[in-house]
């Protein structure tokens, strides 16, 4: 079973893949391998998602965070706990796992759901539930620069995503870890050679009848014909992974064989990540919540959401008359097209305006069907969520295209509206947490992380739009609006969550101004930086020196600005601008000029400028003159 390294968001929560949803969170969880505790993995959050079980350490989240893909889990086993021993859930890996080595978790992507649909078009239909592209890198080998032995590139190694933090397997002979570039080159070379190999493997998987034993033992590297029961080449040592599933079926005894040629040799390395020698993983629930976790884990194992990722949409009920045109409609919807379907139907050849009109009519009809069936009942809505979201996306595009000239709706509001669809998967709700005394606290911390993610999300740029600072109330409004009126956050919880940023060491901070106004800011933005930017703006006399300001004081004093001007200049809200200016005044960088026009802020020349000799001379000149 593989414990994979886990990508974390800025808020130190697992990075969810497309289509992945968070199901449950539990604090106070430790990890066991077999019966042994795994050091450094003893106090953390357990996140159950539709695809994975994740462990995020409380103390060193970036270092000690791992995930197990649900698809590798055969079954969970529950242990209720006894006396001082806390309740545990044991995860047993699938036995076949050892053979289908090349399953890689999907690369996390930031993309609209429609992208996921696009990708789905290239995947095979559901009828063959083979895991996507096994044996893709079976032939990849790297030559050890020390001893010259050709080792196998580990199946989970992906040259596209690998970096210096990726754990590399040491050479099997000399135990020296290879440089990353060696491994990457080998993997890329293998991939570039792949097309022919993958083609053949597709052939074998899609049509079991064509499998013939001669291929089974043929070494892909040296073409030596090995015995079918061997899994490494006798001559060159290359692994013979090609005949994965069929062979297993044929030789069930092999599945139980302990041989693991592909395991990285020396297991002395302490890292547990990507170590497939781990037999079972145990989660110890020291703060309770195990029953909910188990219940939802079982649910997730049954639902198998990860399969959906590559699955075509649910076949929709269609009238007999419209079925031939269905394929064309699908393409309009960005949804997968089954090639067989298209080839079977005689393509309708209507051209010109009539053809366009007909296509439009078909599209509308199809949309009607989808919407109609989707809202029939809740179950249907959930199964066709993908399509509905895709359609919403499409509607948005068309409406924003048309809205440019007709609609009075502001672009910002439109952006909010469109964001709301992708925000569906964002929230941690109270529903995801167990009951108990600790649950409330956990809810607040999760909400706090949620908020931090929301704020640092570059796609939204919530903070950036507000000039890097926004009031807590504004944030509350925006955040709740994004929740689409579901699972709204109470102001009390919200404030609690905001206060938690500091204790959780998140990159956002809550700041209280003198007047009591609470604002949200990135941690990197300090008062000094704000003051510096204000001062440089004020000193920049040439810029924006308006007519009505001209004559107000000689230019050596810079210029005065109102809160309004500062708000416009820095993109702050008026209240924030006032507070920032007063903060700068408080530290002595600015001073105010109150007149009929209102309050203007100037650079503080009292402290430095008037102390210079010139002024003194001016004063003494008067003193001297009067004496005469």
């Amino acid at each position: 079973m593989f414990l994979r390294h886990l990508d974390l968001t800025t808020a130190l929560r697992p990075h969810l893949y497309d289509d992945e949803t968070l199901l449950f969170v539990q604090d106070g969880v430790g990890l066991y391998e077999g019966k042994e505790k795994i050091p450094n993995y003893q106090n953390g959050h357990a996140y159950l998602t539709s695809h994975r079980v994740c462990y995020v350490d409380n103390n060193e989240p970036r270092k000690y965070s791992v995930a197990v893909d649900l698809k590798e889990i055969d079954r969970p086993e529950f242990y209720a706990g006894f006396l001082k021993s806390s309740a545990k859930i044991t995860l047993f890996p699938k036995a076949t796992k050892r053979w289908s080595v090349a399953i890689r978790s999907p690369v996390p992507k930031y993309a609209s759901p429609s992208d996921g649909l696009l990708n789905a078009t290239t995947t095979p239909p559901r009828s063959s539930p083979a895991t996507p592209a096994p044996s893709s890198q079976v032939n990849a080998t790297w030559i050890c620069p020390i001893c010259g032995l050709s080792n196998r590139v580990p199946p989970n190694f992906d040259p596209a995503t690998a970096n210096q933090h990726t754990p590399l397997p040491p050479c099997q002979a000399c135990g020296v870890k290879p440089p990353l570039t060696t491994l990457s080159k080998a993997a890329i070379a293998a991939i570039s050679n792949r097309p022919s190999a993958s083609e053949s493997s597709n052939l074998t998987s899609s049509s079991p009848a064509t499998i013939n034993p001669p291929i089974a033992g043929l070494c892909p590297r040296c073409t030596f014909q090995n015995h079918p029961s061997l899994n490494t080449c006798e001559v060159c040592g290359a692994s013979l992974q090609q005949p994965s599933t069929p062979i297993e079926r044929r030789f069930p005894s092999l599945a139980a064989a302990p041989a693991r040629p592909e395991s990285p040799g020396p297991t002395s390395t302490k890292t547990i990540i990507d170590d497939d020698t781990i037999e079972t993983i145990k989660l110890s629930f020291r703060a309770g919540g195990e029953r909910h976790f188990l219940e939802r884990l079982r649910g997730a194992l049954i639902q198998r959401k990860w399969l959906l990722q590559s699955a075509p949409p649910i076949p929709r009920p269609t009238g007999a008359s419209s079925s031939p045109t269905n394929a064309q409609n699908n393409s309009g919807l960005n949804s997968p097209v089954e090639p067989t379907n298209r080839s079977n139907t005689p393509a309708r050849t209507t051209v010109g305006i009539a053809g366009l009109e007909q296509r439009g009519a078909e599209l509308r009809q199809n949309n009607q069907v989808v919407i109609g069936s989707a809202f029939e009942d809740l179950e249907a809505l959930m199964t066709s969520a993908k399509e509905v979201i895709a359609m919403a996306e499409q509607f948005r595009k068309s409406s924003s295209g048309a809205g440019a000239n007709t609609d009075g709706m502001s672009t910002e509001a439109q952006a909010l509206l469109s964001d709301s669809a992708s925000a569906l998967g964002l929230a941690t709700t109270k529903d995801m947490l167990g009951t108990g005394s600790a649950a409330e606290n956990l809810y607040v911390t999760e909400l706090s992380r949620n908020l931090a993610e929301f704020l640092t999300d570059d796609r939204r740029g919530v903070l950036r739009r507000e000039g890097g600072i926004m009031s807590l109330v504004d944030l509350w409004a925006v955040f709740n609006r994004l929740r689409n009126g579901v699972e709204l956050i109470s102001p009390l919880d919200f404030e609690k969550a905001a206060v938690m940023w500091d204790t959780l060491h998140l990159p956002i901070r809550l700041r209280r101004f003198k007047s009591g106004l609470l604002v949200v800011q990135e941690r990197s933005r300090t008062d000094e930086k704000t003051v510096a930017s204000l001062l440089s703006w004020l000193r920049d006399g040439a810029h924006g020196r308006l007519e009505h300001l001209a004559g107000q004081g000689p230019p050596e004093f810079g210029r005065g600005v109102t809160a309004q001007e500062a708000a416009e200049r820095f993109g702050w809200s008026l209240g924030v601008a006032t507070e920032e200016l007063e903060m700068a005044e408080e530290v002595g960088a600015l001073c105010r000029d109150q007149s009929i026009d209102g309050v203007q802020f100037w650079e503080n020349h009292f402290i430095s400028t008037f102390d210079n000799a010139d002024t003194r001379l001016g004063m003494t000149a008067n003193l001297g003159a009067s004496k005469v």
């Binding site: 001073c591 007149s595 402290i607 008037f610 001016g618 004063m619 000149a621 008067n622 001297g624």
Partner: protein, 212 residues
């Protein structure tokens, strides 16, 4: 430029012989007073909320008031009829508000800030004082100067002079205290009395002062 300023100011003197209590003469000489640079800085006319900044600001104001009073030989400041130009900016549409003026003078009256002014007690206890002495020289300095002039410069030790003589006599025309308010002069003389260098006979204008 500073040299030019001084030269220009030098040309104005000698000061008019009439007293400085009337506003008309003050106005005539306002133009020649060179205001220090803070007066063309708008925030100078708003009392700063930041205490550090405010302390600096008040220091500059104190300097301005003292040098203004010295230039115009102003001994007494009245809040009801403040000298024109002092609390208004010469270049900006700004002025110090009356309440801020009072705050400034209160600040100046404190010993910690140099006791540059002293409130003249009001007639009744209920109302606040409206006038104050401006000490562009402290009472001690005035006393020293007066004594030095009488005893060393004019050699009148042991002679008896009238207060009027000291204030507006022909001989004192070139002295700094020429035209000083009678009450203020008496305060100065009181300082000398305490030092045992002066004896005062009689009352008011006819009072005689004997220097030892």
């Amino acid at each position: 430029m500073d040299a030019a300023l001084i030269a220009r100011q030098g040309a104005v003197s000698p000061v008019p012989s009439s007293t400085f209590s009337t506003a008309t003469t003050l106005k005539a000489s306002t133009s020649s007073f060179s205001f220090p640079s803070p007066t063309s800085y708008p925030p100078f006319y708003t009392l700063q909320p930041n205490l550090t900044t405010r302390a600096k600001q008040l220091t500059y104001w104190s300097q301005l008031v003292v040098s203004y009073a010295q230039y115009h030989r102003l001994f007494k400041l009245s809040l009801s009829t403040p000298p024109p130009g002092l609390f208004n900016s010469p270049t900006l549409p700004r002025s110090l508000s009356p309440s801020d003026i009072r705050l400034l003078l209160d600040w100046m009256s404190e010993p910690a800030n140099g006791s540059k002014i002293e409130w003249i007690p009001a007639a009744s206890r209920i109302t606040n004082s409206e006038t104050c002495w401006v000490y562009w020289k402290s009472l001690g300095e005035w006393a020293d100067e007066l004594y030095a002039w009488v005893v060393e410069e004019t050699g009148q030790k042991g002679a008896v002079l009238t207060v009027y003589e000291l204030r507006e006599g022909e001989q004192t025309k070139r002295c700094a205290w020429y035209g000083m308010d009678e009450d203020l002069l008496k305060k100065v003389l009181q300082v000398l009395v305490k030092r045992g260098k002066v004896q005062i006979f009689g009352q008011d204008e006819e009072a005689g002062v004997k220097f030892f």
